[in-house]
Symmetry: C2
Subunit: 404 residues, 2 copies
């Protein structure tokens, strides 16, 4: 094991050794990425080696940062189902529509992957107090993995974060601070206390390992498609670590010679009440601007400014992808539609993907024969209060009883 | 494929052909069990064949009732993580303590397994309208798999069932009837409408295939322990299908020669507010009596009388197991303890297992070196309202903020 070569700044390219706790690049404060000795991995790992590996994300141990199985802090994250959506596909004329269902993760969310990797590495490198600002699920996941690892967690979340996130964080024994405002306000408050107490910052892309966990979504897609990739990936984008991570995974798999140079078109979906990436993409900008007054019931998408915005935008463009904003009403309808047709209770963030696919189909951007993967990033039942609140605001009744 | 030999009555032993829709035994109204041609399976299946099978419960296709992959109605159920509980084990002196985490299933509950199998077979055999009385998660799972299969579902649940179950059932487009009373009252009301409308009854053990889905928990345990079995299995028991199913799975694996004759001691855990199996077990009875005034916040355990009680009791005795009742307060404390020590947000039913293990340890029934598996049957975040309500009833504050 141990094929990590170095940490590399995603902007200025500067290198750092990976043997100690690190946050962002000391020179330019941009996200650090883990670089592997792919040549050496290629000599040591064959696809068939995976056959008797555990059915979780740690099956890809050689391209992950930990040295040994003992270092892994795991709750069984990853290797989630890739579900064909036959009925929804038939309705809308797609023959190869799939859902990667991340609700099947511990804590009911894709955040488990990133925090499993981050907490494993933080503990290994000596951190004892971890902190995070969160739009919801990341806080729950940090609390869970910190408890599992026996280290302390301090979670800062907006007061109107879904109750499930608040509860799960408390149940895992973390300190929870509820903040009036958005994740950006939570981050500001956290940073003051972090400096005073010497906590380790686990914010998205402010440490190099959450992205390593998230990239396993890309590794799994490749394996599940028989070491090819789908034509299009549609991904709900808050902080965007998953999208950046998958893009990195594809480069690494290509470097290993496990896939060819064909890449999926990457599509970022955001809520029209908070769409900084969509705006920047269509304006041709390289970075996004802080989105004032962010508001959407897709709580995970209430991220006014992503630290890795330039990496997201670059992946969208390199892949000839696009970015789409959908309204909360469209998202709500998508929850009901996918529920009734496929029996899957999407989280609002996941539902934005189906709303976006319908738009892109209408515009002719997507064609019926393409293989398309939507991401459901979490379990719908973690969002009962947000959905109910949206129904109240909305007034109408989409469906008898659902507002009860 | 197609190694099903017949359906066999679990009480009178009568045989039926498996080629048409069936409920209970036409002669004595007891549950029907699927019997396989194990000799033929033995010739056709090797353990190594499983290596490249999908990582869900359908990897065991030969010992399951469907004929082909096309017949399977799946949302990615099963092959859930078996998590070692090192920290909790150290606290309490157990060296081999494990949790089988069924929260990692679609719909966030172990009910997905049984309903995946039942809906697959019901659709195959021509049913178009399915109905179920439910204490909660089974209704959500039936609704989900029915939507996925394109058949209708009618779900009857107590009005005080957790909101997550009500919501998920509606989102999947099922008809939901809320009933003042318990699952037994819901069942009575359902039966009237069922007869009028010719719906197919998917109640626990009133059709033969839910148990086939549930038994995969036993198949997985055997595979995950390297084709041996743990010393003790601790299982929260409402309808008890999972326990009966695992016991059946072990017999079948023995018949295939994949495991030896050693069996785990099976432990049924119930809530002290509804403990008919515990009572019957300690009174030496072969069947249970209807439990009057059932009340517990472990909603899945509010089953006053299980149709398969005699099968549960017989498995407990054959295995030299036992039955334990725990109070809601003990269950609540177990949720907090497992949350803080292992980062896992257990559902109340799952938490009863940890409360029971502590009791059995104190009594000397369990010893430190035994391998012990607890079952967490669902995701804690589906129970926010039940937990909050329990905290209110209770008055006290176990932990700052958790009552918010």
């Amino acid at each position: 094991m141990a094929f990590v070569d170095r940490l590399e700044c995603s902007r200025c390219g500067d290198s750092l050794q990976a043997d100690r706790l690190a946050n962002t690049c000391p020179k330019c404060e941009s996200p650090l990425l883990v670089r592997y000795d792919l040549h050496e991995i290629k000599r040591n790992l064959k696809k068939t080696d995976l056959l008797d590996r555990p059915s979780d994300m740690w099956r890809y141990l050689e391209v992950l940062p930990v040295l040994s199985e003992q270092e892994i802090v795991s709750l069984g994250e990853g290797f989630t189902a890739l579900l064909p959506l036959h009925r929804l596909g038939q309705d809308s004329g797609f023959s190869r529509l799939y859902l990667k269902d991340e609700a099947l993760n511990p804590t009911g969310s894709f955040k488990a992957r990133g925090l499993s990797a981050a907490v494993s590495m933080a503990r290994k490198l000596g951190a004892e107090q971890l902190c995070i600002p969160t739009a919801g699920n990341a806080g729950g996941a940090l609390a869970a993995y910190a408890a599992r690892a026996g280290v302390a967690a301090h979670v800062f979340m907006p007061r109107d974060t879904p109750q499930a996130n608040y509860f799960e964080t408390l149940v895992a024994g973390a300190q929870v601070v509820q903040v009036d405002g958005l994740i950006s306000d939570a981050a500001r408050l956290m940073q003051e206390q972090m400096r005073q107490n010497q906590w380790f910052d686990c914010s998205t892309l402010k440490e190099p390992y959450r992205i390593e966990g998230k990239k396993t979504m890309g590794l799994e897609l490749a394996e599940q498609f028989g070491w090819t990739l789908p034509d299009v990936i549609v991904y709900p984008t808050g902080g965007g670590t998953g999208l950046i991570g998958m893009w990195k995974a594809f480069q690494e798999l290509d470097g290993l010679g496990w896939i060819d140079s064909q890449r999926p078109r990457m599509v970022s979906v955001q809520a029209s009440g908070c769409a900084p990436i969509v705006k920047a993409f269509h304006e041709g900008a390289d970075t996004s601007q802080f989105w004032e007054g962010a508001a959407t019931f897709s709580s995970g998408l209430r991220v006014p400014k992503a630290l890795g915005d330039f990496l997201i935008l670059s992946a969208l463009r390199e892949s000839q992808g696009t970015a789409v904003a959908v309204s909360d009403e469209e998202t709500y309808q998508a929850i009901l539609e996918v529920g009734a047709r496929e029996g899957i209770f999407l989280c609002p963030e996941g539902a934005t993907c189906w709303a976006a696919v319908k738009k892109l189909r209408k515009e002719g951007w997507l064609s019926p024969d393409q293989s398309i993967v939507l991401f459901n990033t979490g379990a719908g039942h973690k969002y009962l209060d947000s959905i109910r609140q949206f129904e109240e605001t909305r007034g109408g009744k989409a469906r008898a009883g659902l507002e009860a």
